[in-house]
């Protein structure tokens, strides 16, 4: 267990260093950082001094170490486009994205898992077949198109819900959408847009796992022992599908953060994704680097949590494989 965690931590660290290295390369080798800091009419001496003060003349490892040290403290420098410290810009927008992702993840799991279990258990019922076909449409619909369609229907034609922005937010330690009516109204469409694709994926995955487990010998044996359907399905089968489902859920949250970029663009949701997209269009390197590091950090964190959850579910991982019985 301890060794496992240490190994995972070590791997996470490696990933972070690799990502940090990419971000650092963005900074230093892509485009000339001095050019970005001083005006075009600066003299060579001014440039020299700038480079010196930025530490650009130091050996490479020293520069990387400095970058890493700053990054750990959350210091990524100034945004070229916004002219504010990057960490401030991100701190301002992080809650918007996290709330959106949280609501979408909750929705996709709360709806996707039961639907998956249902379609797995009753795989030949008409409702299952209908759900499966609909889920294929869900997978075939690009997120941005879902957003556009939802806006068209609920904002333009029906005029029920706002089509863009966060609406009214309340400060509860951060700016939140989840405590005011207007805020909730505003988050419905973006969250729905974001969750739909993931929902279909979760549902199809749970179904596939369920079918796989239902074919195993221990399920057959459980039936042969006369256990109730309820016990067989929800006691024995469902628990065995949990491990892969948790893996995928972890990956889904990562996906949600990425797809939030699209949703935020469609709904002009002032989150990190929108910030990142604008940064790409304006070649705002510090913001790109910071976003990259932050997202990588979130992924690594999720993966760690997922690994720990495995341990609580699967006894085969918890106890060494020592075989008694001699």
């Amino acid at each position: 267990m301890l060794a496992f965690i240490i190994r995972r931590l070590f791997q996470s660290l490696l990933v972070m260093v690799a990502v940090g290295f990419i971000a650092f390369s963005l900074f230093n080798f892509v485009g000339d950082p001095v050019n970005n800091m001083v005006g075009i009419d600066a003299t060579i001496e001014e440039r020299q001094r700038m480079a010196e003060s930025l530490g650009l003349n130091d050996p490479f490892p020293v520069q990387f170490a400095r970058f890493a040290a700053n990054a750990v403290r959350g210091d990524f420098g100034q945004s070229f486009r916004l002219s504010v410290p990057v960490e401030d810009a991100i701190a301002e927008r992080l809650p918007a994205t996290l709330e959106l992702v949280f609501v979408a993840a909750l929705l996709s799991l709360a709806i996707g898992v039961p639907l998956g279990v249902y379609t797995g258990l009753h795989r030949n019922s008409p409702l299952s077949r209908l759900l499966l076909t609909v889920s294929l449409i869900g997978i075939s619909l690009p997120t941005f198109l879902i957003g556009i369609l939802l806006i068209l229907v609920f904002s333009v034609w029906l005029n029920w819900l706002p089509s863009f922005g966060r609406g009214e937010t309340v400060d509860i330690g951060w700016q939140s959408n989840l405590v005011s009516l207007d805020g909730l109204r505003s988050i419905i469409l973006p969250a729905l847009t974001l969750c739909l694709f993931q929902l279909t994926l979760v549902m199809r995955l749970v179904r596939a796992e369920m079918l796989e487990v239902l074919r195993t010998d221990y399920i057959k044996f459980a039936r042969a022992r006369g256990l109730t359907n309820r016990a067989v399905h929800f006691g024995h089968a469902l628990k065995n599908t949990l491990v892969p489902v948790i893996t995928i859920t972890g990956l889904q949250i990562g996906n949600l953060i990425a797809f939030a970029i699209i949703t935020e663009t469609v709904f002009q949701w002032p989150g990190m994704g929108l910030l990142f997209l604008q940064a790409i269009q304006f070649v705002d390197i510090p913001v790109m680097a910071a976003y990259l590091c932050l997202v990588a950090f979130i992924f690594v964190l999720i993966n760690l949590v997922v690994d720990l959850l495995y341990y609580t579910i699967d006894p085969r991982l918890r106890i060494d494989k020592r075989v008694h019985g001699q």
Binding site: L26, I139, P142, F144, L149, L152, G254
Partner: protein, 333 residues
């Protein structure tokens, strides 16, 4: 009659007969093969599923429209000279003000939406196919090596795959674009945009191929036919290519199909975000993006028709992939 079974009863068992069958020609063998295919379970499950047949028809239609566009499209939307602002923002033909020359209406530049969809689909399909092939070659190759060689190399490839998998495709593609945008001079960006797009989408989906192929390879590698080949003294590369590869292609085909749909969607998404193909070669995503600006002012056809075409194509390909998976996996039936 020991050692006799029905095979022998039919044929007395001489080499001459085998030779005669041989000279019977390739035609007979081709007929035999066709017959075998038509009689096969896979074809049977295809015939028995009307929805799959329909999906196949839609996919075929999309292909014909896309790659026949230069010949069958009503207008050549790539030719700016033919555009006339007088024809801008015409609605589809069944609405008031519609024009029979522009069945699905026109955009703000006077471009025929139907023709634009056909050409756009061509771009979407090319990018989709190219990126899937790229991902397939990369993923299958790495998966084969990883699974067959094992050990540290396997460990390394799979760790990289893990990391890659935790970065979703859209994000990878966006990052690559950010990179390309900063590295490449402005003039070159449009020229290589499609290549970058293919590379980005392909790079983000190789993991699925690699994992599947690795898993199957590890199973196949321990099967006795592979060991038999090793006993004969065959080298690893021929074993991988001649023995293992044909036996792991089933799931690869399924993933490729599903990934084609995914690649088309990803391409559209990136183009929609404005980081995809250059505006001079609009894909379906680009069309939707342009149209989106006019959505609120009531010119919905500029968005909805390309969007419908995109979903129809993706759905058809997905349906085919779904059917293929069930057909190749008899356990599920």
């Amino acid at each position: 009659m020991p050692f006799t079974d029905d095979h022998e009863r039919r044929q007395p068992g001489t080499t001459d007969l085998a030779a005669a069958a041989e000279s019977g020609g390739t035609l007979a063998r081709a007929r035999d093969r066709l017959h075998r295919f038509v009689d096969s379970d896979v074809f049977y499950s295809f015939r028995k599923s009307p929805i799959t047949v329909a999906a196949f028809a839609v996919t075929l239609l999309c292909f014909v429209c896309a790659f026949g566009a230069p010949w069958i499209a009503p207008h050549d939307t790539n030719d700016v000279a033919t555009l006339d602002l007088m024809n801008a923002e015409l609605p589809p033909v069944w609405l008031e003000g519609g024009d029979w020359r522009y069945i699905l209406g026109t955009d703000d530049q006077g471009r025929d939406v139907l023709s634009a969809i056909m050409f756009g689909m061509q771009v979407s399909l090319i990018v989709g196919f190219a990126s899937v092939i790229f991902a397939m070659v990369l993923g299958v190759g790495l998966g084969l090596i990883s699974g067959y060689v094992g050990g540290r190399l396997d460990h390394f490839i799979m760790r990289v795959a893990d990391v890659q998998l935790s970065f979703p495709s859209v994000l990878v593609a966006l990052l690559l674009f950010g990179f390309a945008k900063t590295v490449l001079p402005r003039g070159m960006q449009d020229d290589v945009a499609i290549l970058v797009l293919i590379f980005a989408i392909g790079l983000s989906s190789w993991v699925q191929f690699a994992r599947t192929v690795r898993g199957s390879t590890m199973v196949e590698k321990n099967k006795e036919y592979v060991q038999a080949a090793r006993v004969i003294g065959r080298r690893p590369l021929p074993i991988m290519l001649q023995h293992i590869l044909p036996n792991v292609m089933g799931p690869v085909l399924v993933i490729a199909t599903i990934n084609l749909a995914l690649a088309i969607i990803t391409e559209a998404t990136l183009s929609f975000l404005g980081v995809g193909v250059p505006p001079t070669q609009p894909s379906l995503g680009t069309l939707i993006r342009f149209g989106n600006n006019f959505l609120f002012s009531g010119q919905w056809w500029m968005t909805i028709f390309p969007g419908t075409a995109l979903v129809a194509l993706a759905l058809a390909v997905n349906l085919l992939g779904d059917w293929l998976r069930d057909a190749l996996n008899p356990k599920l039936r």
